[in-house]
């Protein structure tokens, strides 16, 4: 029988641990409460659909919102196939104790721990200075086209940063597919790849979707990797080509907070911008949680 115990020291420590848990919840509530309280009033259709004006002290966030969407869409196109293929290798092809599988697992775990700013340096050193410049040299006769910060390079940098998220969630989904489904397909004469493509992956779509959404939510909030690979302070027009620079919500927040000559004046806009970013990332996270819960329920009943 579990009893709470009656010694005062025991009760004291249980109360202390409860207090710690409570304060974490409370801290988050305070942060969110403050941002919602100050920012909610400013979110109007006009705010979402107009560009900043009066030297960023007025107007809305439309270019930053558009840039964020464009950025994460490009990122998703790059990261989902790569992440899914890696997960397929790890869970369908490799023996779990093989040296390569273990090395890949360690590399994925490590990649997840690389600081965001290091990804930013890498994006600048590899994509912009190496890949971009060589493209310019080979295809554009040395004219500057891709050897500069651009939305393409920023999205690829983010794709590498979010790769572990997609690999891990897809892996979970693959593991949830029952072994008998694979065996039945192989027994009917299907090849391994046919089995994966026609039997395993269709059961994993929601798992892969969850991974993609979590990657997008993570990518939409990261600022350090895009600071030097494509994000811009302010642009008069929206990006329409892969080698254009772009505005982004997180970077916009950083710029408004630190570069404004008068923070009190920009405060309302600032809080509303932060709230827009928060709503975006939380909505994505919530969607991922719901899809995952449904997926788990469907696996259990199947």
């Amino acid at each position: 029988m579990r009893r709470l115990g009656s010694q005062p020291i025991g009760l004291f420590f249980i109360a202390l641990s409860a207090l710690a848990a409570l304060s974490v919840v409370l801290i988050l509530a305070i942060i969110l409460g403050q941002i919602v309280h100050e920012g909610w009033g400013g979110i109007t259709w006009a705010f979402l659909s107009s560009a900043p004006d009066k030297g960023m002290r007025g107007g809305g966030v439309w270019p930053a919102l558009f840039g964020t969407f464009a950025l994460v869409i490009l990122m998703t196109i790059a990261v989902v196939p790569l992440g899914v293929l890696t997960a397929i290798y790890l869970f369908e092809y490799a023996r779990p104790d093989s040296r390569l599988a273990r090395a890949v697992n360690v590399a994925v775990a490590n990649l997840a721990g690389v600081p965001a700013i290091v990804f930013g340096l890498f994006g600048l050193g590899f994509f912009v200075n190496f890949v971009g410049r060589n493209i310019d040299r080979l295809l554009y006769g040395g004219e500057l086209a891709y050897g500069q910060p651009a939305i393409l390079w920023a999205s690829l940098t983010l794709a590498l940063l979010t790769l572990p998220v997609v690999i891990v969630t897809t892996g979970e989904a693959l593991r949830a597919v029952p072994m008998v489904a694979r065996e039945a397909s192989l027994a009917l004469g299907a090849t391994k790849w046919q089995t994966i493509l026609k039997v395993v992956l269709p059961q994993c779509t929601s798992g892969i979707l969850t991974g993609a959404i979590l990657a997008v939510s993570r990518g939409a909030g990261e600022v350090a990797p895009i600071m030097f690979t494509g994000a811009a302070y302010f642009l008069p027009s929206l990006p329409t080509r892969l080698n254009h620079q772009f505005m982004e919500l997180g970077y916009h927040i950083y710029v408004l907070t630190t570069q404004s000559p008068n923070v009190e004046e920009t405060k309302p806009i600032l809080y509303s911008t932060v709230l827009v970013l928060l709503l975006l990332t939380f909505a994505l996270n919530a969607a991922a949680i719901v899809i995952r819960a449904r997926f788990r329920a469907s696996v259990r009943t199947a």
């Binding site: 590399a107 721990g113 700013i117 290091v118 930013g120 939409a220 907070t257 970013l277």
Partner: protein, 343 residues
């Protein structure tokens, strides 16, 4: 008749052979396609390893020319040597000092103030986050009723999903003023403020790893303890927590690694002054924030540019070692605990 039958048989044999050859050819083709696809799968498995490798190579490629570049004539004073990176600058009229002053007539690239600043911010972060996160993890895994756990865990996930630029914003706009009013501080932005905000970014990691360590303790341990008449507190404090301490320690180490690399929070909340002092309520500048703040304005290929990439390599190498050892350690611990239940 006699001549027709063999003829028919010959034709039949020939067409049959052709058909089976076609079948064989088609299956060969699909097998080839399958090989190609599998090759693609195999190649993409290497990508994570490749990226880690490329990060080293391409950040090193921008940083390492520092070692062999001979300074242009007349610019010898700007040359970056190991001595200038770690040793003090000597003045004729002042005592020697460690100075980071990359934009000046004689640029000074001393990393000591940045390392000290990073340590100050991360120490505050870990001191703030570790007790909160570990106690919360103990509560969540050992004492909390189910419905409370269903509140705590999503809260932690939500906190983990908070973009660091939002944490930095909150620390800069709100937390800094509260701390200044509360403690009567001279500087609004300082190591304490940045450290607490950084701690918020680190709580989810320490909590998750600690909670994993606690739940990895086999239930048979708890049951044995209850069977001997111990209550919940005695079981937690003498049986479960001691078994999970190494895991919690790993969580703190991983949290420390994350705090060292975290950029936006410190960039916004620390005040960004490169001062070498151990006063925790003075502004600090960390390694990561230095890269973020200065790389945008630096001349491509200049010594300053290369030093910033050198800092990047240092950060990467440090977090790489911390993460790798933490990861391997946690994995071994888990295997040991789970092995015990099986045996």
């Amino acid at each position: 008749m006699a001549g027709v039958l063999p003829e028919a048989a010959r034709i039949a044999r020939a067409t049959g052979a052709a058909r089976s050859e076609r079948v064989i050819a088609r299956s060969r083709l699909s097998r080839l396609a399958e090989r190609i696809v599998e090759g693609g799968v195999f190649l993409s498995a290497w990508i994570a390893i490749l990226v880690i490798f490329l990060i080293f190579v391409f950040i090193g490629r921008e940083a390492l020319p520092l070692l062999w570049d001979t300074p242009q004539p007349g610019l010898e004073a700007e040359a970056v040597t190991l001595d200038r990176l770690v040793g003090p600058t000597y003045y004729s009229d002042r005592p020697p000092a460690y100075v980071w002053q990359p934009v000046s007539t004689v640029p000074k690239y001393n990393l000591v103030p940045l390392v000290v600043g990073t340590l100050k911010a991360t120490v505050v972060a870990v001191l703030f986050a570790a007790p909160l996160a570990i106690l919360a993890a103990i509560f969540s895994s050992e004492f909390a009723p189910r419905w409370l756990r269903e509140i705590i865990k999503p809260t932690i996930e939500l906190l983990a999903g908070l973009p660091s630029v939002v944490l930095g914003f909150f620390a800069l706009m709100v937390l800094a003023s509260w701390l200044q009013d509360l403690l009567g501080l001279t500087f609004r932005l300082n190591a304490l403020n940045a450290g607490i905000a950084l701690g918020l970014a680190v709580i989810p990691i320490i909590f998750t790893v600690s909670e994993d360590a606690l739940t990895a303790v086999p239930n048979s341990y708890r049951e044995a303890s209850y069977a001997l008449g111990a209550n919940q507190w005695e079981t937690a404090s003498r049986i479960v927590v001691p078994a999970a301490v190494p895991g919690m320690f790993a969580g703190v180490v991983l949290g420390f690694g994350r705090a060292v690399g975290e950029t936006m929070v410190v960039l916004m909340a620390s005040g960004n002054a490169a001062i070498t002092s151990w006063n925790f309520v003075e502004p600090v500048r960390t390694l990561s924030a230095t890269i973020a703040a200065e790389l945008g304005e630096v001349v491509f290929g200049s010594p300053h540019y290369r030093v910033l990439f050198l800092i990047g390599i240092l950060l990467f190498a440090f977090t790489f070692v911390v993460n790798l050892s933490g990861e391997l350690y946690v994995r071994r611990l888990k295997e040991r605990l789970e092995g015990r239940t099986a045996g």
